[in-house]
Subunit: 694 residues, 2 copies
Amino acid sequence: MHPLEKMFRPRSVAVVGASGDPEKLGGRTLLHLKELGYQGRIYPINVSAKEVQGLPAWRSVADLPETPDCALILLPAPLVAQAIEDCAARGVKFAQVLSSGFAEEGGEGVAMQARLGEQARAHGIRLTGPNCLGSISPPDGFFGTFSSLLATAKPPPGSVGVATQSGAYGSHIYAVAGFRGIGISRAIATGNEVDIDVAEAIDYLADDPGTRVICASLEGCGNGDGLRRALLKAAALRKPVIIMKVGSSEVGAAAAATHTGSLAGEDRVIDTVFRECGALRVSSIEEMLDVAYLCAIAPLPPLVSAGIVSVSGGIGVLMADACIEAGLSVPALSVDALDAIRAVQPMAGGRNPIDTTAQLAGRLHVIETISQSMMGGADLGALFFYLAHLGRDMTRFPKVEGAFLALRRRQPDRTVVAVMTHIDEVRQQLEAMGVPVFEDPTRAVRAVAGAARLRRLQAEAEPVPGIATAAPLGMTVANEAQAKALLAAAGVSVLPEEACAGAEAAVAAADRLGYPVVMKILSDDIPHKTEVGGVMLNVADGTAVRAAFATLTERAGIARPDARLDGVLVAPMARGGVETIIGTLTDPVFGPMVMFGLGGVAVELFRDVAFASAPLTPQRAEALIDASRGAALLKGWRGGPALDRAALVEALCALSRFAAAHADEIDSVEVNPFLVRETGACALDALVAFRAED
Amino acid sequence: MHPLEKMFRPRSVAVVGASGDPEKLGGRTLLHLKELGYQGRIYPINVSAKEVQGLPAWRSVADLPETPDCALILLPAPLVAQAIEDCAARGVKFAQVLSSGFAEEGGEGVAMQARLGEQARAHGIRLTGPNCLGSISPPDGFFGTFSSLLATAKPPPGSVGVATQSGAYGSHIYAVAGFRGIGISRAIATGNEVDIDVAEAIDYLADDPGTRVICASLEGCGNGDGLRRALLKAAALRKPVIIMKVGSSEVGAAAAATHTGSLAGEDRVIDTVFRECGALRVSSIEEMLDVAYLCAIAPLPPLVSAGIVSVSGGIGVLMADACIEAGLSVPALSVDALDAIRAVQPMAGGRNPIDTTAQLAGRLHVIETISQSMMGGADLGALFFYLAHLGRDMTRFPKVEGAFLALRRRQPDRTVVAVMTHIDEVRQQLEAMGVPVFEDPTRAVRAVAGAARLRRLQAEAEPVPGIATAAPLGMTVANEAQAKALLAAAGVSVLPEEACAGAEAAVAAADRLGYPVVMKILSDDIPHKTEVGGVMLNVADGTAVRAAFATLTERAGIARPDARLDGVLVAPMARGGVETIIGTLTDPVFGPMVMFGLGGVAVELFRDVAFASAPLTPQRAEALIDASRGAALLKGWRGGPALDRAALVEALCALSRFAAAHADEIDSVEVNPFLVRETGACALDALVAFRAED
């Protein structure tokens, strides 16, 4: 049994602050427990009443005749501490504090919340909230919440679990799910998360046999390791996790920080962690429920490809476009398959999508032959049927129902989706066979594409390899030469170069390295050299080296009169190859991350940069490279030679190990450009930023 | 009265091929006319029966006692021609041929369709179809279609007009619209478009006073000018056009071509034409209906900015993210506005989105104060209210209803949207006030963003300027030097350079131009010089010029032994500035287009290229540049100097005039790179492709 089982599915519950007035939160919550089918024992707690809403009431949890599995606390904030003491006295192990007035109000609320957390830990009480909307378990008839939704609608029982930080967010999800006929297993809102957070709720739902699909939403995350572990557990169990993290825009992140006080974090880091841990990130509640609905009913597509059968040519084309846009291929069928289809439906056009014309409807054997031929005629992960208004027609629908059943039996691991306008009865019949039904063609395609992506992410999910913390570097700042020396020692290939304090030393270095050379001003205080005119390319001979030394020193002196200058770096001119950017950053929540992108303007202008958790394995480095569009340049561009991808992989792995082993010290590394050539690759510039002292 | 009025809204109609069997198409169509409220006169035409479905029947249209406004023809394809003759004999001016078996079947069907078109033109009959689903006008109770939808649902009357090529596509749109309570004015499916096409249907709907919003869908387009004119008319009348063009992906385009035999065209050209003509392109039916719903009820947002009031902090953040993603700004409110809000709602957090906490619900004066303060505290085109489940609660909703009414009265030109779970009754009450209601927060945001964009597009829409056809160039092929000479004559600045037949001429040219120079092989037969090693940069002196001449000639001879070589081009090395690509193409449907993108890998790797119809005005050239992300580089990158944007505008205008004036001769022009410098800009390379002889 999962340690949180009694929190999510209590067999007895105390309502602390129970009221006879259903307009009050403590009254409404008690009403929901009483009226919506809960079979467990309910203990209203009220300091003055002997009876509340017809149930015998107690003055304190401490007075109860048994230890309830869970206490729901709805008292004003200043009274919560005493209620927790009473719970401890009675041996209660789980409490949900629905009261507001804590950290979300700032000021004294922050301190009160911190004390609440300490108090619970001291007593060994696991706590949800404060400032949360409670939890529900519809299969148990348990609705431990004051959500206003329940006045008019009760979410039906089912297999979708919901874990959100925000209460209204969660109730919106399970409300809309219910309207669509998607049943809920458990839902919890974690509120201010002084103890239990969304990550731990996901961990519970991953283990919960009543939950088949998990929907989660975060506004912030304080425990990166816990979230990674929970997501990886669900992925290993092949339980789909569909997740949202709001605050992806700057204005949204600022609002989320105000709202919850949570760390926002770099959005692309969150994105990376979700992906690496096998969870599908979505950006709207509707998209979340579309994928959840599909996953709750049908197998996830084993291949990222789809077949389309449509009674309308136009809708078939629309769906093909949507597939390509969403990342599903639409492979042409074999000639044999097409011949078999045309034998039963001579009018059928196309090679996939198949346009059956409106004559398909109602002809069972035609649908059977077409679906069989499509599945045999290409490797398809999913098959869509667009059937116009057949789903509203109970005289014609039963004639084709059997074709769907036969298809599901023959292809139990493929996803079969019906798209049509429909009535509930038809939808439910198809759902019972494992065939999800959508009204909108594009939403159907996006849901299948999401599920296919989710399945691939689950299969690829793996923990970030561990790495021992390295001996401290003993530095807090590094100029370019020192940064490159650190990287070279870590195994990142660096262009040979020499730091020269004076002009004559620079000439001697250039003579050794070979002309032409590049010369760069060297100073801890000038991290961005080009902005001060601190780089000179193609310096051709000794005379030019002397002149360049003088020019660089003069420019730096004018632009940054306070900067301490360490001379210049002299390096041979590197030609050919492709300039990339490799780097790392240490995320406050998720730790060291490594990034890759194309050099030049690609990162800034097109945001073409990919992230991965550090350290990398060679395989994960390959995936990181492929996640950037710049990867195409490495294969040989416009007939040019292929570049040394292996050298890039080696450098990324070395850099990622360096960043991970020194995560306590190093804030970020930027190697820009990192030149990948036909043979070999090397850093041309490097910047290492150390973490500020605490 | 629009010339097509009687086609869309006939007062009398003949059903040619009317049947007593409602399973047959001619029976079902007659049934729809009889049973769904049509007040006009219905004339069944049947060769053998005296009576069909209880109505007196005629043998032929020619025998009718009056000339019907429109004939619906549902006969087998080979019998249609005689029916048209009969219509002509009776003076019928409009016919809709719902019969299939024409061009969509290939073979003889193609010829039969062509004959049908000629026949109708000869008789002055305007014709919809063949192979179409007919048309409906719900406010008139007119349903001249055999759509199977009507067996179970009748689209309600309203103000949204629908014009599609595909019948099933159209019936899907009006079916789903009806389920959502969106009423339809007229809907027509144009089928094989032997005469009337979607463009002409849009033209009708633009004039139709019963239509407030137009939804249209194309699979192909044969009449670019007609489509431009219709869209511009609607934009000038400020009637929103929301349009889809399927076949945007390669596989979709191939399927569309198979399906309709229509020209697919370059998708980005279609995109450009829609935008320039003030229509909003969408990619799903749901998105189309979301925007149409909003536009049918509310004013379009006059500014591309939004305020968000949410009873849930999390949903507020979600909506802020969605706004930014969709292109709506979310400006922070003024301090005064925030003070006013906190005076009535001390708990309210944020600066926009405003998190009111759940305590907002039901408090009329709070909602009034907040909305008033928001509208006064920033320039907002739209205001969103997220109200959780208030829309399901008829005890609480009436308490806030007045606040919406007051807001609409005070801000009649702003868009106010309610987002909540809701029952139909609440939705309809808000709709009656001009407040659209959405369940999903993200869809609400996207609909408002679409409407805001649509309003801007309408305001900016203008016809492409006309230009006289120029005297023919008298060429069918041009090498690089000739191409540059053409462009220079057209007013596009070109780097000074010389074509040299021999090595000594090249040395003399280099001496004149100044070293270092660039040398390029010159041949009509080698359009892509770099692929054969045909370009040498940084040629330093006379000796090097001689050697380079020999090398280039040798390489070209090896790579393309058959190529006719015209010597080499010698030009000074151009340094500095930003490399862009400018070009033109002549679209078979929409004529000459001009394109702009960043040079290097941006176009191919990131598809960062923008199109506009040619010729350009300077203002439209500016917009074209700004539509590319590369525009950022022109402003001065990383502290570098701003580049000569005026010179780029001049070149784009000149190039666009050249392409438009020679559209009959020239297929495409590619100037890559076109170098934009601190002062001036010039073509470094150019390729002019002529149209193949017909």
